[in-house]
């Protein structure tokens, strides 16, 4: 985490599909992205995780030629984004936060239109459209106009539209925002599939479970800078602490319990509805005993307790500004 290269998520490999170096973007006095560097390899899902306004969408827009890059540089499969935007557009697919399809066209017509704009020859294009409709199970609604679709159907069309030219690099900007759990899981499976077949996927999300589940590597960004990067497991380990969860019997004891726990650990959080304390511990087992003995001595009855490994939530909340500055 302190080592610069791992902080930035830069890897040295020949199969680098996306390479961002010290990217920067400002709007007037507001810095949206500062000195952001990362790589994404072919066949890998790279997750950009951060709260709203962290700079995720700005980063994606710079990499997909929608916004000029203020400082730094980026290449997609070796093509420089600033110097050859037209060429970059031929090798990327983009699905945005908003279902970016034509509402008045059917799924079939939308895919046909995007295929034509990519200059895919007619025979190949027709086959490709049919194949995608079939593979992503869109047959039942492919002939209806898009404004009649459910949120899930529309989002699926949006993602599929970005696949029409089989791009080696796919950018998905919060692809599952607003989807119901089932559509979300289905989309996850499809994204994971694409990576398995060799596509490099750059995915932004504010959902920790999504980043945890899908990403081979994760970059946590906040206020336009990289806070941490690594695999999900590495990030959790990097916290170097376990969490003791204790349910007290009575909600009235909760404030007193926090005080008692604070004698051993710092950063204790409590939830009065669940009568739950979360106590971060650097030395899990021995400190747990100390905390529990204190509860006993202070006459605070408890229902149960467990010592758990940190989740991505803990990492995220620790690192992002919105989670408090501990």
């Amino acid at each position: 985490m302190t080592d610069r290269s791992s902080r930035d998520g830069v890897v040295g490999s020949a199969s680098v599909a996306v390479s961002a170096r010290n990217l920067g973007k400002s709007y007037g006095d507001t810095v949206a992205v500062r000195d952001l560097s990362f790589d994404a390899r072919a066949g890998e899902v790279m997750g950009l995780l951060g709260p709203n306004g962290a700079g995720k969408t700005t980063t994606i827009k710079m990499l997909t030629t929608l916004l000029p890059i203020d400082s730094g540089s980026a290449t997609i499969v070796g093509i420089d984004v600033a110097a050859q935007p037209d060429a970059v557009r031929r090798v990327i697919g983009l699905a945005g936060q908003f279902a970016a399809v034509d509402e008045k066209l059917t799924a079939q017509e939308n895919l046909e239109m995007f295929g034509r704009l990519y200059k895919i020859p007619k025979t190949e294009r027709t086959q490709r459209v049919d194949h995608l409709i079939d593979r992503f199970d869109m047959g039942e609604f492919a002939d209806r106009i898009a404004e009649t679709y459910s949120g899930g159907q529309r989002r699926r069309l949006d993602v599929v539209a970005s696949l029409i030219a089989s791009p080696p690099v796919l950018f998905l900007d919060e692809p599952t925002t607003g989807l119901d759990p089932r559509s979300r899981t289905e989309l996850w499976d499809e994204i994971a599939d694409l990576a398995t077949q060799g596509t490099a996927v750059v995915l932004t999300t504010q959902y920790l479970d999504e980043a945890d589940r899908l990403s081979d590597r994760i970059i946590i960004i906040d206020e336009g800078v990289v806070k941490a990067s690594g695999t999900s497991a590495e990030l959790k380990t990097s916290l170097e602490r376990d969490v003791l969860e204790v349910h007290v019997v009575s909600a009235e004891d909760l404030d007193r319990a926090v005080e008692v726990a604070e004698q051993v650990a710092s950063g204790v959080s409590s939830d009065s509805e669940d009568r739950l304390l979360q106590i971060p511990l650097t030395d899990g087992s021995s400190q747990s005993l100390a905390v529990l003995r204190q509860f006993d001595a202070s006459d605070i009855p408890i229902d149960d307790f467990q010592l758990r490994r940190p989740t991505l939530d803990d990492v995220f909340l620790t690192l992002t500004a919105t989670g408090g500055n501990r």
Binding site: I79, A100, K104
Partner: protein, 268 residues
């Protein structure tokens, strides 16, 4: 980088890029025609707008002007209504495009390897085709009220010039829409050019009936010039000079507004 990707990084030659641009414009025109067709209420009102103007002005001004000057008013009015029709059609290019540009699909177009100008080109061409239908409808209703073209060639010439000037103004509105990005704003701004061009013109009354200081503008502004050419063509009066000035106006407006619209759109 594999060889395929290296090939993609190379910029194709001029001939290929030109062919691709034409393909993109065709694709976007196809898209905008489908969109127009699938909004039947909008299409209906847009298409009958010209007929509405024709009937309104014919019955409001027809008696007064016709009786006073001895002019056959329907023969005078119809070619002017052609131009007014395509002008209001051009205004819809702006409002429609402003709505379109605020939607997510425009972001996708910007991320595609396509001619960005085709987004505007498709829309203006689709609107020109729709305008052609509106104008033909005006000619049909005009015929029922006693209007006559001197020949088929005259009819085609008058309609082409009217649609042509509408196409030029579509590009002006495309530029406005790309800049302000709001249909309401485009609608409001159109009051400032649509009404002066429409009313301070020779479409409804000859310039001689206006105050002296206004006559120069009324005679030479593009709507009057094209209306005059369409009228002369319809009546079989020698129209060479009027047609020439019409073409000059159509091309001049395109030369100015196509690059402006493209630049404003590109800047986002």
């Amino acid at each position: 980088m594999t060889t395929t990707h290296a090939a993609l990084a190379r910029r194709p030659g001029f001939a290929t890029r030109f062919k691709w641009t034409l393909q993109d414009i065709a694709t976007m025109t196809w898209r905008d025609l489908i969109r127009t067709w699938r909004q039947p209420e909008m299409l209906t009102f847009a298409v009958i707008m010209g007929v509405f103007f024709l009937l309104l002005f014919y019955y409001v001004f027809g008696g007064a002007i016709g009786a006073g000057t001895g002019v056959d008013y329907i023969q005078y009015l119809v070619p002017g209504i052609f131009v007014i029709t395509t002008l209001t059609g051009a205004q819809q290019t702006g409002t429609g495009l402003a709505t379109d540009l605020s939607q997510g699909v425009t972001d996708r177009f910007r991320s595609l390897p396509m001619s960005q100008m085709a987004v505007l080109g498709g829309r203006t061409i689709a609107d020109a085709l729709r305008n052609t239908i509106s104008v033909v409808l005006v000619a049909i209703v005009g015929y029922m009220l006693g209007f006559r073209f001197v020949s088929i060639g005259a009819a085609i010439g008058a309609i082409v010039l009217s649609v042509g000037i509408g196409f030029s103004f579509s590009w002006m509105n495309a530029a406005i829409a790309a800049k302000v990005k709001s249909a309401e704003m485009v609608g409001m701004l159109s009051m400032f050019w649509l009404f002066p061009l429409m009313l301070a013109s020779t479409v409804f009354t000859p310039a001689e009936q206006m105050p002296g200081w206004l006559q120069g503008f009324a005679k030479w502004q593009p709507i009057s010039v094209v209306a005059d050419a369409a009228r002369k063509l319809s009546d079989g009066i020698p129209a060479g000079e009027a047609v020439l000035w019409s073409i000059v106006w159509i091309l001049a407006l395109l030369v100015v507004f196509v690059p402006i619209a493209a630049a404003v759109y590109r800047r986002g």
